[in-house]
Symmetry: C2
Subunit: 155 residues, 2 copies
């Protein structure tokens, strides 16, 4: 289904899908909310997840912490309905636009995984950088939704 | 300047910046246009690029093809003025919102690197997937702007 990557002009200027998966067989994915245009998450897909996302129109990822394909929302109920998929110039990253209704995307409970902003300007090297929370309230209680499943965040 | 990553609750619920760089010392970056909300590019930063971006308020990346820090727009003139930087729940990816005015971001000449969309629905395994161009015209001629510099796209 994927065109073999043979030359740069075809990859950049052609219309055939020939994605580049990295040494672990993954391609990074940017997921945007179709309503608010906010970034919901940054994830990865393997070939199978990419194909399932195109075919089922529901976002599938590859979970690097659980080392398995991951149908987003299967546990939480927050399925991501795919509105559009785009790929970049050298075809090594994917931009997914999804509809999550009034749902959430972040396993911590927020709507978006990007709920903190970093102050701009000079940093004193010894100083820690204090971020600002941009989401005030969680959309759900992760302990209730995930019921004792291991947290995917790794140190 | 970065808090040491010591426990998951601090990383997810805390307000101190403690980004996770991968085995190559990189963190993936999503770059969004502040005006149109389109995704302009997907890149990577190392510690130095991340710090320079925060401090100078101009996007710096790490070029994996050229293996060097990369002040975006230094050659093309299309500097990215940083409006906001966010980090995700486990602090292993960054969302940059930037102002590029009437400029462009893609080395192929388009405004966004994501100028092709992938059709949704069942794929015949033997069939190649034909994409649709969503940008009709290039914003600049890369041959004029980059004058014989090597193309960063790798097969």
């Amino acid at each position: 289904m994927f065109k073999k990557r043979e030359n740069v002009v075809e990859i950049e200027e052609g219309n055939l899908l020939s994605p580049k998966f990295d040494n672990e067989g993954l391609i990074p994915v940017i997921t945007m909310c179709s309503q608010t245009k906010e970034i919901l998450m940054h994830g990865y897909m393997n070939v199978e997840a990419f194909k399932k996302t195109i075919e089922t129109k529901e976002a599938h990822y590859y979970s690097r912490s659980r080392k398995t394909i991951w149908h987003k929302g299967k546990t939480s109920g927050f399925i991501q309905k795919v509105i559009e998929i785009k790929i970049d110039d050298d075809q090594d990253s994917v931009w997914l636009t999804v509809d999550i209704g009034d749902g959430a995307s972040c396993h911590v409970g927020y709507r978006s995984c990007f709920y903190r902003s970093i102050p701009l300007g000079p940093i004193d090297n010894g100083r820690e950088v204090k971020m600002k929370f941009t989401e005030k309230e969680k959309k759900f209680d992760p302990e209730k939704v995930y019921k004792g499943q291991p947290n995917p965040t790794k140190i």
